[in-house]
Amino acid sequence: MIYKETGQYKSSYKSDHAIFPLLQDKIAFSTLMFIAFLIIPFVINSYWEKAILVPFLIFSLAAIGLNILTGYCGQVSLGTGGFMAVGAFSTYKIMTYFPDMNIMIIILISGLITAAVGIIFGLPSLRIKGFYLAVATLASQFFLVWLFNKVPWFYNYSDTGQITVSERTMFGIPVTGAEAPSYATYLFCLVLVVVLSFAAKNLIRSKMGRSWMAIRDMDIAAEIIGVPPLKTKLSAFAISSFYIGVAGALYFAVFLGAIEVTESFDIMTISFPVLFMIIIGGLGSMLGSFLGAAFVVTLPIGLKFLMVDMVGLSAVTAKHFEITIWGLLMIVFLIVEPHGLARLWSIAKEKLRRWPFPY
């Protein structure tokens, strides 16, 4: 009943190709945007900002980036942490060289720099596939992190190798640095995420997106029907890296404010969790990127809240439980629903369509 599409006629190609063809989806999406833009900024506090919403938005962006590469173009990558580090360090260097440049522009340029780096590290994908490519991207992860730790120029010769953000404003309101109000950092990330998500969604529906999927499904067949593998694979690497670079720039400038490359961009802190996000969320699904990011960001916090604050377990016991539950959930997901949360949502939609009279 709820998802009934009966009576919703499409009388033009435009309406047939809408991102949300169903009225119900349109309403749900508008409500979500209304809440996100007009309600949350007024009720947000620093805990929700720093612990949940801003990391969720940033990791959504990273997950979209990786999903473009892995979910849509079929190129497995473990280099997310390294690419995010490129975004972060580009932001830092541009910030210190051009103190008057607008932060939004700095972040977008950082994304472009990361895209260029992504193309370079994407070159091996023309020759190697699957696990072998995963190992090659793993090399980029280790190389980039090592580079930013080894070459003092990247951290402006500071004694400790830490990079620290300085204050930048948008319309006179600080969005980076410790003084930035919660609503400002949140809205700043939200705007970027919404705009870039729409861009990604439309890219995927374009010729480029279709050629990525052709390469993913069978690269030899794709080549035979005229999809150029060089251009396709490298464009996937470039665009994916752009998103990941922007995520890295936000992660450094807006979220953490001070970063140490070995710790903050470690493979266990970034690369694997982002990969889990798209696996749990759903490979090759925009919605999946968001669901996966939400799941990975909020699960530990939710479990901690449940176990420590409500049940009253000690922090360490809760942590041990958390690690165990996390591992179990990963296995359960891979066995029960390998297509992720996005697939669960589409099943739910199917069910809602017939509810309450299933047949």
């Binding site: 830490q162 140490e260 710790e263």
Partner: protein, 431 residues
């Protein structure tokens, strides 16, 4: 049927949430960022136990600080910065002081806590230049900094070589992070001053892989090895040093690389290993008797109680003691037992732990006296050298508490803090 279960579950959780909100807290809040899991747990656990036992003892013996009970919620960080931020945000409301127990998290929290008006106490770790109270209003790192530590280690080596170490080779094995990199500049400056050669050997997180590091040491044969390590890295380094038969008495760790957990795995091989320290090990102090009486004998020991009297447990006691003392001072200054975070900071800035005061607190001869002032948040800068006796399985103090090279250190602190002040546009205080 399912809907019924769902409803029951939802009602139950709503009740649970509301009861949680009712649990209002009126006490003095000392949130704890601990790590009892992960690669740094072997060091994190005893330290956290020391903290908790001291707070519990104060609550049981004195009924809290000036009648106000200590509330010390624990938050598990796993030594991870991002989790540390979450823990900070969760607990910062009405918090007196944060003790991040991680240089990375300290760097992260310095600007945030300064903006929020919460004190940070990084006892002998964190950002060294925070010792300059003129710039870092909310940050304290007494009693001693890494740069003091580096120069004290060099001073110890100088003493052993009758003041001449020209041409000697000193290697620094360090955790490849902000923490490990802290002493490099001091050691480089001192190298110019004393004419020794410095060899830098980074070890990546978490520090289990050190084969290449020690192979280099075996080849280059440095006269001395200094170590800035933490967690598993310490154990591995000491074991590796023993296996290449490096003379242990020439291997000196910072105060975070000198606990029982670090040397015990190497067995007899660790005999003679040295480390710096700013507090004594052992259980012969009044505070231990009180903890035994008020906490352990009641079966309320934190953790399994097995770390009682170890180096890091005792350091936890010391850190907790300073934090509690700051509250006492604040209560005295402001004439109220219900202090705010801002009042607490005033108290911290006036902490004066004389020998007499330490004795009153049950810490006689436990640590050298020190004092915090508006300009100096770094305390005395005193540390001693202790040596491991693998046969008796105990640490022995082998030197007096000594100062570092204050000319060099003070200059570096002034340089670094003024750079930070310029970056963050902070005006100097205390004038």
């Amino acid at each position: 049927m399912r809907i019924k279960q769902l409803l029951i579950g939802m009602t139950a959780s709503v009740i649970a949430v509301s009861s949680y909100i009712e649990m209002a807290v009126a006490d003095l809040k000392f949130p704890m960022l601990v790590y009892r899991t992960g690669a740094y747990a072997p060091n994190g656990i005893p330290n956290a136990d020391g903290f908790v036992d001291y707070y519990k003892m104060i609550n049981a013996r004195d009924g809290g600080i000036g009648g106000e009970k200590i509330f010390h919620p624990e938050c598990e960080t796993g030594y991870k910065t991002q989790v540390g931020v979450e823990c900070y945000e969760k607990n910062k409301k009405d918090a007196m002081v944060f003790q991040p127990m991680s240089t990375g998290i300290t760097y992260q929290l310095i600007p945030k806590a300064t903006a929020d008006g919460v004190s940070i106490y990084s006892t002998g770790y964190g950002r060294t230049s925070a010792a300059n109270g003129k710039v870092f209003k909310w940050v304290f790192n007494a009693p001693v900094t890494y740069w003091d530590g580096a120069s004290i280690a060099v001073r110890h080596i100088l003493k052993q070589n009758l003041g001449n170490i020209k041409g000697k080779k000193i290697a620094l094995v360090y955790h490849n992070s902000a923490y490990g990199k802290e002493p490099i500049r001091t050691l480089e400056t001192l190298a110019k001053k004393h004419g020794y050669k410095l060899m830098l050997l980074p070890v990546d997180h978490p520090g289990q892989e050190q084969k290449a590091t020690w192979l280099k040491i075996r080849k280059a044969r440095p006269n001395y090895v200094l170590m800035w390590g933490w967690g598993v890295m310490n154990q591995v380094a000491i074991k590796s040093a023993a296996s290449i038969k490096f003379p242990m008495e020439n291997f000196i760790g910072i105060w975070w690389s000198g606990s029982e957990n670090d040397v015990l795995p190497a067995g007899q091989g660790a005999h003679g290993y040295k480390s710096l320290t700013f507090n004594a090990p052992g259980t012969d102090y009044q505070v231990h008797k009180d903890i035994k009486k008020y906490v352990h004998d009641k079966g309320e020991a934190s953790g399994d109680g097995s770390h009682f009297g170890t180096v890091l447990y005792n350091r936890g006691l010391f850190q907790a003691m300073v934090q509690v003392e700051a509250a006492t001072v604040a209560q005295k200054i402001h004439g109220t037992s219900k202090i705010t975070p801002a009042m607490y900071r005033d108290g911290f800035e006036n902490v004066n732990l004389t020998a007499k005061r330490l004795e009153e607190l049950g810490f006689k001869d436990f640590a050298p006296p020190f004092k915090i002032t508006c300009e100096n948040h770094g305390g005395s800068g005193l540390a001693a050298v202790q040596q491991w006796d693998a046969k008796a399985k105990k640490w022995n103090m082998i030197t007096e508490y000594m100062y570092g090279d204050s000319d060099v250190v003070q200059k570096l602190i002034a340089e670094d803090s003024s750079k930070y002040a310029a970056e963050q546009k902070i005006a100097e205080r205390c004038n």
